[in-house]
């Protein structure tokens, strides 16, 4: 009898977990391993903001699958282990602690992390991140003392934090760059409408400007912008979009640009290696452009699709449906991010 295939999944987010569940559903014999650099297991990213402000919420409440689920499903979950190299010829992934794991089919679902603008790179330790469970735990500890928060850029993270913090009376400043408000299609009209709506919500908006430095000033931080504005704040949060975490793939000869370049079937440039979710970059002929997907709903969808393709199907990935963001009664169309409203339930 042939050995069952070993599916190795690098990454423990929505795409990876959905793929693992789908693989198990369709191939009861397969060996499935999830390797994750994170120390905690998969949690609902969209619930992080609520977790932050609800004192009684615990991280455990955000788990989709409790630990026993992985055992029941015979999915080996290896947390706190980092893959630092892949050898596609020999079909090995190398872990930081020098172990190597052989795979038959490999799925890269490493997700994305907040982009650190190059000019702030050396100040990285002063900046707040809000993308993972660990980030949320760290921020939650001091959240009661936060009276003012500055968003360095505008993205989904900034909006989700705004949604959680505004009702609690935290004052917010958004520093918006001239060219981007991720994940919106951005032009002059949108730019103005968006800044106006944020202001209507009581948010201070610094328009057409960039943070160039962040300094510790006593208990507070002092954010300085290119335009010469200075903002005193308790926290400066990275919110200039996300970048896929794919650096470690270059040495394996797996093509990457912003994310891992995959074809219509989510297959990478190397045989038996697939990618899905926020780290996978697909060319969509409808857009005449490449795009990485956004948000857990899209990631889960791609996770299920890639699982079918890894088992031999040839399904085409579809362009995510545009979502709608509502701020102070104004509607904005997004790049496939789920629906979101900064207003009271409408």
């Amino acid at each position: 009898m042939a050995e069952p295939l070993h599916f190795v999944i690098v990454g423990n987010g929505p795409a990876g977990n959905e793929a693992a569940a789908a693989l198990r559903g369709q191939d009861p014999k397969a060996r499935i391993t999830i390797i994750s650099a994170a120390a905690t297991h998969y949690l609902r990213p969209e619930k992080l903001a609520a977790f932050l402000v609800q004192p009684r919420h615990r991280l455990k409440d955000l788990y989709i699958h409790p630990y026993p689920w992985y055992e029941e499903q015979r999915i080996q979950l290896r947390l706190n282990q980092t893959v630092n190299r892949i050898a596609p010829e020999q079909k090995y992934v190398y872990l930081n602690h020098k172990e190597r794991v052989r795979y038959d089919r490999l799925l890269l679902v490493t997700g994305a992390r907040p982009r650190v603008p190059e000019r702030l790179a050396s100040l990285s330790s002063l900046l707040t991140r809000f993308a993972t469970g660990a980030d949320a735990l760290l921020l939650k500890r001091g959240i009661a003392q936060v009276k003012h928060m500055t968003m360095l850029g505008g993205d989904c993270i900034a909006l989700e934090l705004a949604q959680a913090l505004l009702p609690r009376g935290v004052r917010l400043t958004f520093i918006l760059d001239e060219y981007r408000f991720w994940p919106l299609e951005f032009d002059e009209g949108v730019k103005k409408r968006l800044a106006d709506s944020l202001e209507k919500k009581g948010i201070e908006v610094v328009r057409d400007d960039l943070a160039v430095s962040v300094e510790q000033a006593g208990d507070e931080l002092l954010v300085k912008t290119r335009g010469g504005k200075e903002v005193k704040t308790d926290r400066a949060c990275l919110s200039s979009g996300m970048v896929p975490a794919v650096e470690f793939l270059a040495s394996a000869g797996i093509d990457t640009q912003l994310g891992v370049l995959v074809d219509d079937h989510l297959q990478t440039s190397r045989p038996d290696i697939w990618a899905a979710g926020e780290c996978a970059q697909v060319y969509y002929s409808e857009l005449k452009d490449y795009r990485c997907s956004t948000g857990s709903v899209n990631a889960e969808q791609q996770g299920r699709l890639v699982a079918r393709n890894m088992l031999g199907a040839k399904e085409m990935v579809k362009l995510p449906e545009p979502g709608r963001v509502t701020i102070a009664g104004e509607h904005f169309t997004t790049y496939g991010w789920k629906g979101f409203s900064l207003d009271e339930k409408d």
Partner: protein
């Protein structure tokens, strides 16, 4: 009683000992055996990668010893302009560095350390030149860029009378007109060029050969001519709109900026290209006040020829990269209004080892712009020579492989003028090689040659803990200071002495050869117990290169098959653990360096 006996220095107890204050050199061996050159190639990867074969471990060790003047000279012997190269070298050595091999960490900051030697050399340090007696021969060098300077330097030391013709107002070629001042300060460039000129080079500025003076005339008046006129004809794409006002070629743009002009570029600039010129154009555009600068790449950032540090600096200053696009045409009525692009996918590899970008059908998009800079390389333009010369299929001048001469007798070529745009260090190397070829032609014999020098070392020179020092970052100016004034303040401010010395410790000193003397080895295997890598092996046999040097070791697990216990020079990181632990001191350390020596008549 008064001591009357006179002690001779050699009777002192520590006379033969190696102490920081004194060094006893017992045996030095010089070799021209090709196996020894082969050993250097095989074991010193940085030196092999350097087009000028710089003795990199040698000069880095001098920095550790705080002999910055000597370190500078070790560089200058072969690469003529250490201060310049310590800033803008293309650094082919760094990707080759053994410290960057898998599991070894990051490569040593070889280039930054070269700058350290230049920055901290003592004021008025002694330049060392090996001067030959005047030969009475006259040689002309056309072009005063890196290749011309390399050639002129060596020709002058050979004793020939050198005349250099330069078309522009100042010497330096691409160094002065191609590279922006914020990467290469001009006073430093002037000093290092002066070190070449003071050897008796007669420099004629503002003389454009082919316009002010014919090459045929120069050939008549000189015993030999080296053409090092660089690559100044910009490549063109032949697309619509290429000649609209607001479209610049990268070189034209940089030359204007470097002459102090401020070309009109508007708010949004699209740069097309993936080399250092494209980066320089983008960074200069930001300094000229552009709000948005996009560098458009056929492939992706991964396949850029520039290093990660440069990419970071471009982004730090606000430049953006747009990968996987090809420009199709420039659009606009009287001036540029934008450009049409196609998206690419990654394709195969070209013969020259470059990744291809293949346009995706029906993927056109328009992007608005106030100006477009096409920095897609340049090639030599031999039309000004007014001579019929043989060319290769690729349109470069054909050279005689033995003499380095063109099809015209006494006419030699150096640098980018020969084989197209390369980099500064390759041009200097090429210029020096052309000078040696000219000398051999004029004097009818070889007068200088490379030899391998061996020196036995009484100690390891390194400590194992140095292997864990992280790469020291280059300090740079903050953004407002970069853009202040004309925006030409040097961005990289240089390593300070302490981090510089830390960085120098990181070098494995691959020029040290660790060897086990089989006659004395007692096979105790202590060395194998302390080795940090798989570097000491039971060898069944060795595989040799065609020059006879050892390429690799065939390992065995079986003692009965082992011919010897050997240290694999390619795995060895020269930590010295084996040397320190050996109970019978059977491990020998030899310093192996390549150097230039005169050939006696």
């Amino acid at each position: 009683m008064k001591e009357t006996r006179l002690y001779l220095p050699s009777e002192r107890e520590d006379f033969h000992a190696f102490t920081p204050a004194r060094k006893v050199v017992r045996d030095i061996i010089f070799s021209t055996d090709r196996r020894d050159f082969g050993w250097i190639k095989e074991n010193i990867p940085c030196q092999r990668a350097c087009p000028a074969s710089t003795n990199i471990p040698g000069y880095i060790r001098c920095i550790f010893e705080e002999r910055h003047g000597r370190s500078y000279e070790l560089n200058r012997f072969v690469n003529i302009l250490p201060g310049v190269l310590g800033r803008i070298c293309a650094r082919p050595c760094e990707p080759a560095c053994r410290h960057g091999f898998p599991d070894n960490g990051d490569p040593v900051a070889i280039c930054h350390l070269k700058r350290v030697a230049a920055d901290f050399r003592p004021e008025g340090h002694r330049l060392q030149e090996q001067l030959f007696a005047p030969s009475g021969k006259k040689v002309a060098v056309i072009g005063s860029g890196p290749a011309g300077l390399g050639a002129a330097h060596d020709l002058a030391t050979f004793g020939h009378q050198v005349t250099m013709y330069e078309a522009e107002k100042e010497p330096g070629g691409m160094l002065r007109y191609g590279i922006p001042e914020f990467r290469l300060p001009r006073p430093l460039l002037a000093t290092e060029i002066a070190n070449v000129l003071r050897l008796g080079v007669d420099l004629h500025l503002g003389v454009r050969v082919g316009r002010d003076l014919e090459l045929a005339e120069i050939l008549d008046k000189h015993d030999a001519v080296i053409l090092s006129a660089g690559a100044y004809r910009p490549n063109r794409l032949g697309m619509p709109g290429e000649n609209l006002p607001g479209v610049y070629t990268g070189l034209e743009f940089m030359m204007r900026v470097n002459e102090g002009e401020r070309p009109e570029i508007g708010q949004k600039v699209l740069v097309v290209g993936a080399g250092f010129t494209a980066m320089d154009c983008a960074r200069s555009s930001i300094r000229l006040g552009a709000k948005r600068v996009l560098i458009n790449l056929l492939t992706t950032e991964e396949f850029l020829t520039v290093d990660q540090e440069e990419i970071f600096q471009v982004k730090y200053e606000g430049g953006e990269f747009r990968g996987l696009v090809s420009i199709q045409e420039v659009l606009g009525k009287d001036k540029v209004q934008g450009a049409r692009f196609q998206r690419n996918r990654l394709g195969g590899w070209t013969e020259r080892g470059e990744r291809e970008g293949v346009p995706i059908p029906d993927s056109d998009f328009f992007d608005s712009a106030d100006s477009v800079i096409l920095a897609i390389g340049q090639r030599p333009d031999p039309s000004f020579l007014h001579l019929e010369l043989d060319q290769t299929e690729r349109g470069f001048l054909r050279l005689n492989p033995q003499t380095g001469m063109t099809s015209r007798n006494r006419l030699f070529i150096a640098g980018d003028f020969g084989a197209g745009a390369s980099n500064v260090i390759s041009c200097i190397g090429s210029g020096r090689r052309a000078a040696w070829a000219v000398d051999q032609y004029l004097m009818r014999r070889e007068r200088r040659k490379n030899v391998v020098r061996f020196e036995y070392m009484p100690e390891t020179l390194r400590e194992r803990k140095w292997d864990f020092i992280p790469r020291q970052p280059m300090p740079t100016l903050e953004l407002p200071n970069r853009l202040a004034g004309a925006g030409q303040s040097e961005v990289e401010t240089g390593l300070d002495p302490d981090p510089a010395r830390e960085e120098s410790k990181r070098c494995y000193l691959c020029y040290l050869r660790f060897e086990i003397d089989a006659a004395r080895c007692i096979y105790c295997r202590w060395c194998m117990d302390v080795m940090p890598k798989n570097c000491i092996k039971l060898a069944k046999e060795v595989v040799r290169n065609s020059d006879g040097s050892i390429q690799s070791v065939v390992e065995t697990e079986d003692w009965s098959q082992a011919a010897a216990v050997v240290i694999d020079g390619k795995e060895c990181i020269r930590c010295g653990n084996c040397f320190r632990v050996c109970p019978v001191k059977c491990i020998e350390i030899v310093k192996v360096e390549m150097m230039e020596q005169d050939v006696e008549a």
